[in-house]
Symmetry: C3
Subunit: 207 residues, 3 copies
């Protein structure tokens, strides 16, 4: 175990980044590449991988074997379940495939890298996969094994392949119950209001 | 490579438990946490992770990258395929999310930990995910990539997301063939009888 | 980091094979077993595992956590996404399960090992699973999270569980557009012709 500026790095982990916040713990067999940014008070589980160019907020739990690539930005207080995989290339080919169209595509990041954001407080279930550009709204919850192919609204609970919305969840993680038209309640006391605009349904906390 | 009481631990593995049975082999980049219990004559593949509080029986094959968490109990002679992930928290949030409802929930194990059992001789296919409390019956078989969301009866073959029963399998692993109403045969010679009770169908070996 | 004959092996990787081609890079926490064959100019990402008996061609990108088993043969220029798992045993049981039928089955490779081939230039998306014998045609593309249960024709784009064909892709990776009956065009300029025979549809480049 080593410790620099209040960071814990397990003796069998490889942390090459010097942009890790205080209070963060990095466990065995993890590889954090140079230039990856990790906030404060995070917990990075065994065998996780965080690539150069990835950005992770504060108080994030990143469970074992999660893979976070260049172009992925994770907000604060996010739960990334075991084995979650992000992606950043919509139609990947081996970069060394000897074809001019492939060489052109991979010559610059602009040609292939698609960014993905995860909003504050969201949860990504075990072994789910997030396709490039499928942004995850704040406090949304992705069910285990789901394959997320497009944007997920804040507070949505999505499941399946491709992932579809099957409910709403509270900030605390509990499923919301509909009390009357467009009003959703949580057992923790929070109340949310449903809005529909441009064919999309969204949820926001009632003030 | 080290060896204590007939246990093989690869020189690149990390085994912190002193409750591993004789004859068990632990391969490279595996992490077995302190307090995890593993029986005799098991085979634990590369990059697997076994958490404090997990219990694994005798003669279990745990393939590479399988993750076994606190609250998971695996019987004897079980096959856990590559990349299988268990889970133990139904509506996970990052534990450090600054909300009273989240803090309350994670204060004690009783608030979030859901246990899962795997019966003797069962097989879990590659990269399947077992949701919290989705107990797997003895000699059941979960297809590769399946997401198991509820209990699986003994000898059932389940597949899909969510996993549904698509057949029955023998103790030896082969698929059973229906010979007459409620009677199923295996090519290895075993015969099983189907029972229905309380809306559930189950299978038991004929005596 | 070590280097033999132009091979790069990260200091935290374990490469036991002496059949790795020049120009290949093997990154942290990878395990390449003795006897595994890897071609030239490949890139093997962190935490990947390549078993004795596996064969990998030239210029292959094998992303992190991919698992390649005995019996799997990967062509040249293939992209194997993060967390992809192959399989080689159709109805796996723990090998030490004390039943004569299981002992018989695992006594020799002929009793259980099913081979799988991946054609040149194919791409396998993140966390997809390839079932035993589900050969992947040249330049085919498997979507992220898909579970491939049977053969995939050359240039097919398949998705879902079980994976089904949802389109065609070019050698360069882009999706093909149908210009007229049986003729498909790529934006990179290539033209393909569709053929149907024995109930199967396939695609080939127009000369």
């Amino acid at each position: 175990m080593s410790s620099a500026a209040g960071i814990f790095v397990h003796r069998l982990a490889l942390c090459e980044s010097d942009e890790v916040g205080a209070g963060t713990q990095i466990w065995a067999f993890v590889h954090v590449m140079q230039g990856a940014v990790i906030g404060r008070d995070c917990n990075i589980g065994d065998h996780a991988f965080i690539e150069t160019g990835a950005r992770i907020g504060d108080r994030v739990t990143l469970k074992n074997q999660a893979m976070v690539w260049d172009g992925v930005e994770i907000g604060d207080d996010v739960f990334v379940g075991p084995g979650v995989s992000f992606t950043n290339d919509v139609f990947a080919r081996s970069r060394r495939l000897p074809l001019p169209a492939v060489a052109d595509r991979y010559r610059a990041k602009a040609g292939w890298l698609v960014r993905t954001c995860v909003g504050n407080g969201a949860s990504l279930g075990a072994r789910c996969v997030i396709l490039p550009g499928a942004h995850i709204g704040a406090y949304a919850m992705v069910a285990a094994g789901a394959v997320v192919t497009r944007e997920v609204p804040a507070h949505a609970l999505v499941a399946g392949m491709p992932a579809k919305r099957v409910g709403w969840v509270c900030r605390c993680g509990a499923r919301l119950v509909q009390e009357q038209a467009r009003i959703w309640h949580c057992r923790c006391g929070e109340i949310f209001e449903e809005h529909a605009a441009e064919g999309c349904t969204s949820l926001a906390r009632s003030c």
